[in-house]
C-alpha cells in the first residue's frame, strides 16, 4: 500500500522470563548477555520470549507462526497485558499499555481488543447471547444495547437463532464462531487470535478460516493471528513472523518468507509449501535489458505478455499455449523475461537461472 502506514500495535524489545528470579536473570542478560541455557542453569528461570519487536499496521493481519512451546501464545498475551513483560513495552495506537492503570487497562481490553482462544473459553453457565455480550456487560452497558449488539455479532458468524442455547449444546465449530462473535461484539480495533482454529477438524477449520477471511475483508480489523500451521499463516496473513524458542526468527510477507528464508529453520518449514500462488513474476524474471544483452535483440511480438505481480500459477497458464518465453511488461514497457526454465525452477523453489 502506498499511503503512510499507521502502526496500531508496536511491541518494543519484549522479554518474558518466567521464574522467581526473573528480575535478576533479566539484569544478567542485559549486562552479560547470557544464553537461555545459562539462565536456566544459573537462575532456574525459563525464557518465554526473547527480545521480540514488531509492529502491526492498521487493518493488517499479522501471523505469528511457531511450533508449540515457541512462546507465541506468551507473546500475544503481552499485547492486552494478560502477561506482564519482564522488559520492554507494548504500545497500542501510541499508548503504552504497560503504563496504564487497572481501570484504563480494563477499558482498553473491553472496548479496543477482542480475543479468540484455542480452547474457546466460553462461559458454560451463560447462553450464547450472554457470552457474546460479555464485554459490554462488564462495561455496564444497558440491556437493550447488549441485546442489539449481540444479535448483530451473532448474525455476522451465521448463528442467528442459536442465541438462547448454551455452549455445550453447540458443536466445536459453532462454539468457536461464538468465540469469534464475542471478540467482534464490542467492535474492537484489534483482534487477537490465539490458535483459534487449531482444535477443530480440518473441514470445519477451512470453513471457519473462510468465515474469518470474509469478515476480515469486510471489517478491516488489525489482527494478530497465532498459528502452528504455515499453510494457514500463508493463507491468512499479510505478513508472517516465524518464532522459534522465544525468538522472532524472521518477519516478512508470505512471499519473502517462502523465497528468502532467513535461516535453515525457516527454510525447512517452507520447503513443503507450494510456491504457485506465492511467488510472483517479478521475483523469477530476468530483467529485460539483461535478456537482450545475453540473447541479442529478439522479436517479442508473438510472445505472451504478463505483468510483474502475476503469480506462478498464472504464468503457467500463459506458458502452456506457446513455445516462447513470457514477456513481462509493466505499464506497456517490457521489464523482464520469464523463460520456461526459470518458471520450472521457480515452481521448485530454486532460483538457479537468476543466480547464473
Amino acid at each position: 500500500m502506498a499511503e503512510a502506514r499507521e502502526d496500531v500495535i508496536r511491541c518494543e524489545g519484549i522479554w518474558k522470563i518466567f521464574g522467581d528470579k526473573s528480575r535478576q536473570a533479566m539484569e544478567a542478560v542485559r549486562s552479560q548477555g547470557l544464553s537461555k541455557k545459562d539462565i536456566r542453569e544459573k537462575f532456574d528461570c525459563v525464557v518465554g520470549v526473547q527480545n521480540a519487536s514488531f509492529t502491526v499496521g492498521r487493518g493488517e493481519i499479522f501471523c505469528i507462526m511457531g511450533l508449540s512451546g515457541s512462546g507465541k501464545s506468551t507473546l500475544i498475551r503481552h499485547i492486552n497485558r494478560l502477561i506482564e513483560p519482564t522488559s520492554g513495552a507494548v504500545y497500542i495506537e501510541g499508548q503504552n499499555v504497560n503504563a496504564m492503570n487497572a481501570e484504563a487497562l480494563r477499558k482498553l481490553r473491553a472496548e479496543k481488543i477482542g480475543m479468540v482462544f484455542q480452547s474457546m473459553a466460553l462461559m458454560p453457565h451463560r447462553t450464547v447471547r450472554d457470552n457474546v455480550a460479555f464485554s459490554l456487560e462488564v462495561r455496564g452497558k444497558s440491556e437493550a444495547e447488549r441485546a442489539r449488539v449481540a444479535a448483530r455479532a451473532i448474525e455476522m458468524v451465521d448463528l442467528t437463532g442459536w442465541d438462547a442455547k448454551y455452549p455445550d449444546e453447540l458443536s466445536g465449530g459453532m462454539q468457536q464462531r461464538v468465540g469469534l462473535a464475542r471478540a467482534l461484539a464490542a467492535d474492537p480495533t484489534i483482534l487477537l487470535m490465539d490458535e483459534p482454529f487449531s482444535a477443530l477438524d480440518p473441514l470445519i477449520r477451512r470453513q471457519l478460516q473462510g468465515t474469518f477471511m470474509e469478515l476480515s475483508a469486510e471489517l478491516h480489523k488489525t489482527t494478530v493471528f497465532i498459528t502452528h500451521d504455515l499453510d494457514e499463516a500463508i493463507r491468512i496473513g499479510d505478513r508472517i513472523a516465524i518464532m522459534k524458542d522465544g525468538v522472532l526468527v524472521q518477519i516478512g510477507t508470505p512471499e519473502e518468507i517462502v523465497t528468502e528464508p532467513a535461516d535453515d529453520y525457516v527454510a525447512e518449514f517452507v520447503a513443503g509449501i507450494s510456491k504457485l500462488d506465492l511467488v510472483t513474476a517479478a521475483r523469477i524474471m530476468q530483467p529485460f535489458a539483461a535478456h537482450v544483452q545475453a540473447q541479442g535483440p529478439q522479436d517479442t511480438a508473438s510472445w505472451p505478455v504478463g505483468r510483474p505481480e502475476m503469480n506462478l500459477n498464472e504464468l503457467v497458464d500463459l506458458a502452456v499455449g506457446t513455445d516462447h518465453p513470457i514477456l513481462i511488461a509493466s505499464e506497456g514497457k517490457p521489464v523482464g523475461v520469464v523463460t520456461k526454465r526459470a518458471l520450472l525452477r521457480g515452481i521448485q523453489g530454486r532460483e538457479e537461472e537468476r543466480a547464473a
Partner: protein, 312 residues
C-alpha cells in the same frame, strides 16, 4: 513435681509448660468480662427464638406440604415423595416429636446461616490465595478433629448455657467443609475461562461474581450440604448445654437408660437429616445437568407458570 529428679528416659513427666493453667486464665478473663458478651448474646438469642417460634407457628401439615413442595422444586418428584414419607414417620414417632424436630431445625438453620456468612468469604479467600489456604488449613483440621467436649466448657463459661452457645459449638464443628469446598470450587474453575473474562475487561470483582462463583456453585452447595449434615450431628452434644429439641430427648433417654425414648429422638434426627440432605443435594445439581431448564420451568412452580402461560 519440681522436686522430682529429671529422668532422661522419660523427660515429658517433668516438663510442665502450664498450658492448662494458661487456657484456664482465658476462661477467667471471659467470666470477668461477661458484660461485654451479653448484648451480642441477646441479639443472637432473639434471632434463634424468632426462627424457632416461626417454625412452631406453622401447623405441622402445612409445614409438611411446604417442605414436600420445596423438595419437588429442588430435587424432583421422586425425592419429594421420599421427603414426604420421612416427615410422616417423624410426625407419628411420638406426639411431641414434631415440635422437638422444629426446635432442632431452628438451631440448625441459625447455625447454617452463620456458617454461610462466615464460611463463604473465608472459602473464597482460601481459593484465591495459597498463603491464606496454608494458614487456614490447620485451623480447619483442628476445628473438625478436636473433641467437642474440649470447647464445650470454655464456650459455656464465656456465654453461658443455652441456644447461643449451642449454635457456636455447632459452627465450630460444621464450618470447615463449607470453607474447604468453596475453596476447592473456586480453584476448580477452568483457568482459560477466567483468562477470557480478564481479556474482555472484567474486574476481579466481576470475575468472582459473574464467572467464578457461578461455576463453583455445585461444589459450594455440596459443602453446604456437608455443613448441614454436620450441624445436625451436633444436636446431641449441643443438648448437653441446655439446647432443647430432639438431641435433648436422646440425652435424657441415655441418662434414664430409656431405649424407647432414645429411638424416638434418634430416628427423628435421622428423618430430619434425610429431608435436609435430599433437598440440598437437589440444589447442588447444576442447571446444566437438568438440561438447561431454569428453576421456574420445573417442579410445582413450573407447573404453575406453565398453566399461566397456556392461559395467556
Amino acid at each position: 513435681m519440681a522436686d522430682k529428679t529429671f529422668d532422661w528416659l522419660n523427660p515429658f513427666g517433668s516438663i510442665d509448660l502450664g498450658i492448662a493453667n494458661w487456657a484456664d486464665g482465658i476462661k477467667q478473663w471471659a467470666i470477668s468480662n461477661r458484660d461485654l458478651i451479653q448484648p451480642t448474646k441477646r441479639f443472637f438469642e432473639t434471632v434463634i427464638t424468632g426462627i424457632e417460634s416461626a417454625l412452631h407457628s406453622v401447623p405441622p401439615l402445612v409445614m409438611l406440604a411446604v417442605l414436600v413442595l420445596v423438595a419437588w422444586q429442588t430435587a424432583g418428584r421422586r425425592t419429594a415423595i421420599l421427603v414426604g414419607a420421612c416427615l410422616l414417620i417423624l410426625g407419628i414417632l411420638a406426639p411431641e416429636a414434631w415440635g422437638l424436630a422444629m426446635t432442632t431445625l431452628a438451631i440448625v438453620i441459625a447455625s447454617v446461616i452463620l456458617c454461610v456468612l462466615i464460611g463463604l468469604p473465608l472459602g473464597v479467600l482460601a481459593g484465591k490465595s495459597d498463603r491464606f489456604e496454608a494458614f487456614i488449613r490447620p485451623i480447619l483440621d483442628t476445628m473438625q478433629t478436636i473433641p467437642a467436649f474440649v470447647y464445650l466448657v470454655p464456650v459455656v463459661m464465656m456465654i453461658g448455657i443455652g441456644n447461643v452457645s449451642g449454635v457456636i459449638v455447632t459452627i465450630i464443628f460444621a464450618l470447615p467443609p463449607l470453607v474447604r469446598l468453596t475453596s476447592l470450587g473456586i480453584r476448580g474453575v477452568n483457568p482459560s475461562v477466567v483468562e477470557a473474562a480478564r481479556a474482555f475487561g472484567a474486574s476481579p470483582g466481576q470475575i468472582l461474581r459473574k464467572v467464578e462463583l457461578p461455576l463453583a456453585t455445585p461444589t459450594i452447595l455440596a459443602g453446604l450440604n456437608q455443613t448441614i449434615m454436620l450441624s445436625l450431628s451436633m444436636v446431641v452434644i449441643a443438648s448437653m448445654i441446655a439446647v432443647k429439641g430432639l438431641g435433648n430427648e436422646v440425652l435424657r433417654a441415655m441418662g434414664r437408660l430409656d431405649a424407647g425414648k432414645a429411638i424416638v429422638g434418634g430416628l427423628g434426627i435421622v428423618m430430619l437429616a434425610i429431608v435436609l440432605d435430599r433437598i440440598t443435594q437437589g440444589l447442588g445439581r447444576s442447571g446444566r445437568d437438568k438440561g438447561h431448564r431454569h428453576w421456574w420451568q420445573t417442579g410445582p412452580v413450573g407447573l404453575l407458570t406453565g398453566l399461566f402461560a397456556k392461559r395467556g
